[in-house]
Amino acid sequence: MVTTDEKGPLTAKKKSVIIRSCDGDEFLVSESAAVLSTSLKKILEEKEDRLIHLSDIDNKTLAMVIAYLSTHADDGLSDDLKRSFDQEFVSGKEFDVLKYLVLATDTLQVTCLCYTVAKKMADIMKNKLVEWVRREFDIQNDYTPEAEAEIRRLDAWAWDDRQLEDD
């Protein structure tokens, strides 16, 4: 399956590349959009192949990153429009979606989006219990009960459960 990017059919003049997600979906992306990712730019510089396979990014996440790259590569859009696109891009997204997005943007080295997503995640993590964060990231507590008790004792003020949320 080849999906053209959202900006309509590509003109013949524009160079494009195909990016394949780990679950096999392929995206046709203009080179000008792809090179906004530092990692993709390096790959394109190093090899002639117009097909890039990303073994650790799923199709949903990849589609989002490509939508971002295409928007930012569009010379017809003003900086203001791009900024408001960025704001809307992260708003309303589930934490579970954001965490895959932040990892993908880190892997692909899309610094600006990585920062925007990380900021949104940090905003959501505000006033959250540690247990909430561990659950969302599926992280096992690797402290001994003694070590965790000591951590909580050191900065006890930051653990005041009355103000913290678990959902």
Binding site: V102, D123, M125, V133, I139, D142, W157, A158
Partner: protein, 390 residues
């Protein structure tokens, strides 16, 4: 086609963990983030450039039933409870600077304490000021002998010295920093200025700068002190044996009842505070209330204070704390052009009369004052402190 491999989220690249951690808005969030797992803790160290800049907290009165003290963040409305038996009722707070409280005992000791880490650093005691000629615990009620600038000797008891000898102490640098810090004190009764370097065992008095006792800040590598008329004494104490004092005499009328100096992102500001005096008939006491602030920026070419109609996106914190300016744009939900203030004048408010402390937020745009919750009577003054872990 390959299935996505399961991500081990505890093992994210350290720089990605840092990117998320450094976007957290409060210190408490950062502390809990570090507790998620050992990898995250290692990737998000306690380093000042990583830590969120916490909005100043208002230190609330001691509750009588416990050693815990409330610290109120007026931006988030969070109330943090810290165990801080050191700041007991028998000690007076003579300032807060760079995250440290300055406490004075009834015994001569003066010390710094960081309420978050409870690290403690002793400063030279009250008895080590050159104008304190004698300290004797056994001369009850007249423990201290003090020499006035006119060379007269007089006696003070423990409580008087604790409460009225020093007006305010500030620090040049954080004691956690790499460079040595200097503590700088405004002495109340004699309107003198004094300083001591980290690790030294006595205070030194700057005789040349007497009466520059309204406020002092550390600015451009020197201590800038201001008098009632807006004139500045620049005290360079880097060479301890020969401190240099330069004066800027501003020839203009500055009114207002109290003056503060502020380093607003490199710009030197003077803030004049106007008080209204009323008689509390019920208690036969004079009560002060802040009614207005005026803000000036120093014009270095013309050597005058230039009136500022607006602070724009700046926010000031005034009181017993080291005067502080922040950018509202650094804090979600923070409005600029505001002055957060506490009462730091007159001993009369020390054992506060009606419990109605003069504390609030002044809006420079329209001159209105927004109040904070009331404080119990007979409590210490509230004080601003910028929480700091390093």
């Amino acid at each position: 086609m390959s299935e996505p491999t399961a991500v081990d989220w505890s093992d994210l690249p350290p720089e990605l963990i840092q990117t998320i951690a450094t976007n957290l808005q409060t210190l408490a969030d950062y502390i809990r983030f570090r507790a998620v797992c050992q990898n995250w803790r290692a990737a998000a160290p306690i380093i000042s450039r990583y830590l969120p800049r916490e909005f100043p907290w208002l230190m609330l009165p001691l509750s009588r039933s416990s050693n815990r003290r409330g610290f109120f963040n007026p931006l988030t409305n969070n109330l943090h409870r810290l165990t801080l038996p050191e700041a007991s009722l028998s000690r007076r707070r003579a300032g807060s600077s760079l995250g440290w409280l300055i406490l004075i005992d009834e015994s001569p000791s003066i010390f710094l304490i960081n309420p978050l880490t409870r690290d403690r650093i002793a400063l030279p005691p009250l008895s080590s000021f050159p104008n304190v000629t004698k300290f004797d615990f056994y001369s009850i009620g007249r423990e201290y002998t003090v020499r006035s600038p006119e060379n007269d000797l007089y006696y003070c008891n423990l409580k008087e010295m604790r409460d009225s000898f020093i007006k305010k102490v500030i620090l040049s640098h954080s004691p956690y920093g790499e460079s040595d810090f200097t503590a700088f004190a405004i002495l109340n009764r004699h309107e003198n200025l004094a300083y001591c370097k980290n690790g030294h065992d006595s205070w030194k008095i700057l005789d040349a700068a007497r009466s520059y006792s309204e406020d002092v800040i550390y600015f451009n590598g020197a201590f800038y002190a201001v008098n009632k008329f807006g004139c500045i004494a620049i005290c360079d104490v880097n060479d301890e044996d020969s401190p240099m004092v330069k004066f800027i005499n501003v020839r203009q009328q500055i009114d207002g009842d109290m003056q503060y100096l502020v380093d607003a992102m490199g710009e030197l500001l003077l803030v004049s505070r106007y008080l209204d005096f009323e008689i509390d008939i019920e208690h036969y006491l004079e009560v002060c209330k802040t009614v207005k602030f005026r803000v000036f920026r120093f014009d270095w070419n013309a050597q005058i204070w230039e009136n500022m109609a607006s602070l724009d996106d700046k926010v000031l914190f005034l009181g017993t704390n080291s005067s502080l300016a922040l950018l509202s744009t650094d804090y979600t939900g923070c409005k600029g052009n505001r002055i957060y203030f506490t009462d730091d004048y007159s001993g009369a408010n020390y054992d506060s009369i009606a419990g109605d402390h003069d504390v609030g937020v002044y809006n420079l745009a329209n001159g209105t004052i927004e109040s904070f919750p009331c404080y119990p009577p007979n409590s210490h003054w509230p004080i601003w402190i910028t929480p700091s872990l390093c």
